[in-house]
């Protein structure tokens, strides 16, 4: 069984492996499904996150040379679970690097987390002094998620209580352009990539993405894959939306300052300034707040999801800015 792609839309090729696990796993995925056994442990974060990303990707678009039946091969499912447990353990261990907020309602706690976040800002850097190369690198990193924007969150819809479910659908339907291809955010992002001279094909840059980038996407896939993490994806989405208008205004400024003034180059960012001002309050109050109201026990999971976002995004931002400061590329 191979995936059939729509005209002009092809599943990407498997990326090059980066360690012991991805090496063995990707060789296996090129064959018809069989029971994986005796796999090596990931030999670092890059290997862990590339292998986990590939496991998840089988449930999104997949890979051109990988049989679609691998997605449900029991040993692959078991591998995915074991990699998720490693990722979760790393999150639990590091979460206290992110300030906590324990007082008040869930929307108030999320706002307090944002106020206390002291991570550096890639958007601020790019708006004021970033180079074209740096802007292009940022777009390449974000392509891992933004060419499938909202796809991880969609899986959460059936797991939410009514008010939170309606809010999630309200936000997500906007992400998908209200059902109109030309307004779908992943489509706007593809156009932005191409307007900046980059490849807009799905998965085109997977070979260039370090684990610190893939972790930001794996976090959403993890939270979206399991009902037990429904609170975490609500908190993750809420804080993403609550901080997005400001970041996208700065990215829009960077794009224009660096001479990319076409509608294709700027539309994605301008659209998000306006759209995410809506999503911000709906996600904070109706989605996260609505979930906590219906299921008070979810409040701490919602806040954990938000802090986990800040943890992986903080690492991502520090990676990019320190590479650029040292005159290096932040890509692999």
């Amino acid at each position: 069984v191979t995936l059939s792609a729509a005209p002009g839309f092809a599943a990407p090729r498997l990326p090059a492996p980066v360690g012991a696990l991805s090496d063995v796993l990707f060789a296996a995925l090129r064959q018809p499904p069989f029971a994986l056994w005796d796999l090596p442990a990931p030999d670092g974060d890059d290997d862990l996150h590339l292998a986990l990303y590939a496991c998840y990707e089988l449930g999104y678009v997949g890979f051109a040379e990988v049989d679609g039946d691998w997605e449900s091969e029991p040993s692959l499912v078991a591998l995915r679970g074991s990699l998720e447990r490693r990722f979760e353990a790393a999150l639990f261990e590091a979460i206290d690097r992110v300030p906590d907020a324990t007082e008040g309602t869930v929307p108030e706690r999320l706002q307090a987390l944002i106020a206390a976040d002291d991570s550096p800002s890639v958007a601020r850097h790019l708006a004021v002094q970033g180079t074209v190369d740096e802007l292009q690198e940022l777009l390449i990193h974000r392509s891992a998620y933004l060419l499938k924007e909202a796809d991880p969150q969609v899986r959460t819809i059936p797991r939410l209580p009514p008010r939170a479910k309606a809010a999630m659908v309200e936000v997500l339907s906007d992400e998908y352009g209200g059902g109109r291809l030309e307004y779908m955010h992943s489509e706007l992002y593809r156009q932005a990539l191409e307007a900046l001279g980059l490849d807009g094909s799905y998965g085109a840059y997977l070979d260039r993405l370090p684990g610190v980038t893939l972790a930001t996407v794996n976090l959403m896939s993890l939270f979206g894959a399991h009902a037990r993490w429904r609170g975490a994806i609500a908190g993750h989405l809420a804080v993403t939306e609550m901080t997005s208008s400001d970041a996208n205004r700065r990215y829009g400024r960077a794009v224009r300052r660096l001479g990319f003034t076409s509608r294709e180059a700027t539309h994605y960012f301008d659209e998000h300034v306006e759209a995410d001002a809506v999503h911000d309050v709906v996600a904070a109050h109706d989605l996260a707040g609505g979930l906590a109201e219906a299921e008070p026990a979810q409040a701490d999971t919602i806040v954990f999801g938000a802090r986990a976002l800040m943890l992986v995004e903080g690492a991502f931002a520090r990676h990019l800015l320190s590479a650029w400061e040292a005159g290096r590329s932040s890509l692999r």
């Binding site: 929307p107 906007d174 208008s245 400001d246 306006e274 001002a277 809506v278 911000d280 709906v282 109050h285």
Partner: protein, 66 residues
């Protein structure tokens, strides 16, 4: 009488007016301001750079409705 969906306007705490449902938005001369999405946020703090829409600036300026 025709039955259509209601229009609902909600002032969110320390935030914008969220407008859901069918509306026509016009400027002071009566010219139509295009509205594409079904839920929009209108500026309530006066500081948005994309008025009449909200751009989240109320948070940076500490807008409070209390």
């Amino acid at each position: 009488m025709t039955e259509g969906p209601d229009t609902e306007i909600t002032p969110y705490r320390d935030g914008p007016l969220i407008v859901r449902g069918p509306i026509r938005l016009v400027d002071a001369t009566g010219a139509e301001i295009p509205v594409r999405r079904t839920t929009i946020a209108l500026c309530r703090c006066g500081r948005s750079r994309i008025k009449p829409f909200c751009d989240g600036t109320h948070k940076a300026v500490g807008f409070s409705d209390r």
